[in-house]
Amino acid sequence: MPILVIAFWLAFFNLITHQFSNITLESERRDALFSQQPELSFLQTVDDNGHISNLAQLAKNQQKTLIAEFIYTQCRAICLSLGDVFQQTQAEIIEKSLDKKLGLVSISFDVDHETPNTLEVYRKRMHADPNVWALLTMKDASVLEAARSKMGLIVVPDVKQGFVHNSAFLVIAKTGHLIGIFDTDEMSEAIALALKLSH
């Protein structure tokens, strides 16, 4: 009887944690994305000039490896520090003349409020160089839904009319495939992977 109980729970622990490798859904999401490396053409976007494109196309057109983050421009919390990291990275890219190899992309998921105009305001505020740092918003709610289901993007409305969301840096290869996800304190690792790929 004790053996049966142990076997039962061992089986279910094994099942829910994927062979004891993930105890949070976020780490499972990243593992799954690492193994799938999906092409990001479903992520249709509008940039601050109003041009419609998609993430995969953007990477192919520019022939750059992209580092992307999800934000919304009205954010007063985590996106501010994400923006800081991107500003520093932009400075680093320009300083080391990496702008032919590496690009930055901020993608807003606030489909109801974000417009090319709000993106332009954000560009001015962040001093984002158009050659390095692209600002995009998702084309419509169905894109956000696709990002939720295919990439495990989590966006939870919070009490102050804002959002709480999972924050990470995505590395997107020139082919338009997602090839890595890094924590917000792992920007240097993300850059290292991106540079390795662009050779």
């Binding site: 009887m1 993930n22 105890i23």
Partner: protein
């Protein structure tokens, strides 16, 4: 015939019969689409209301007079069940998946109901051993509560960090209450054994 540890003999019989069914409806009701947003938006409602309700509902079902309980009466197995079930539903990934996948939600309802039933059987068999079993589970509640309270990272994708911290504190309070209950129970058992001895 041993009387159950928390028998409510002074309640009318119909209330005694209705109580587990009422708790069961309340607990399962929280998983239904109409009110599901309650457990989806608050980790505390999920962990500190729905899960205890399921255990209480299982506990208050009067199956111990029936033959089933004799088959269940293997103390190591009972303890392992309670311990492992608690551990399983303390994992952040289990909470998230119970919200996303109905299959895991049903699994949660079933296993926690069984835990309640097993808990009752435990209380009616070897008392001192039962206290040890509960004690080890209480330690795990402390550990999980402390982790949720102190973590600055959102462990569940579905819940906000404030909700996570509140739940952590709640778990610590529940564990403290159980610990006090445990001490009181041990004192009572010792007094009773002195009376006999």
């Amino acid at each position: 015939m041993l009387t159950p540890a928390f028998s409510k003999n002074h309640y009318p019989a119909y209330l005694k019969k209705a109580l587990p069914i009422f708790m069961l409806i309340l607990a399962i009701g929280l998983s239904l689409p109409q009110v599901r947003h309650l457990i989806e938006s608050s980790m505390a409602v999920h962990m500190l209301v729905q899960m205890p309700l399921l255990i209480f509902a299982g506990y208050s079902f009067d199956i111990t007079k029936q033959k089933v309980s004799y088959k269940l009466n293997t103390s190591a197995a009972q303890w392992l069940w309670i311990y492992l079930t608690t551990m399983f539903w303390m994992l952040p990934i289990s909470l998230d998946k119970a919200l996303i996948y109905p299959v895991w939600d049903i699994f949660k309802i079933l296993t926690l109901l069984i835990t309640g039933i097993v808990l009752k059987v435990v209380f009616q068999s070897h008392r001192l051993l039962a206290l040890f079993f509960i004690g080890s589970t209480v330690m795990m509640l402390f550990f999980a509560g402390f982790n949720y309270q102190q973590s600055d990272v959102r462990l569940c994708n579905a819940y906000l960090i404030e909700s996570q911290k509140i739940t952590g504190s709640g778990l610590i309070i529940v564990a403290s209450a159980l610990l006090l209950f445990l001490f009181w129970k041990i004192k009572q058992e010792l007094a009773a054994s002195e009376m006999r001895g």
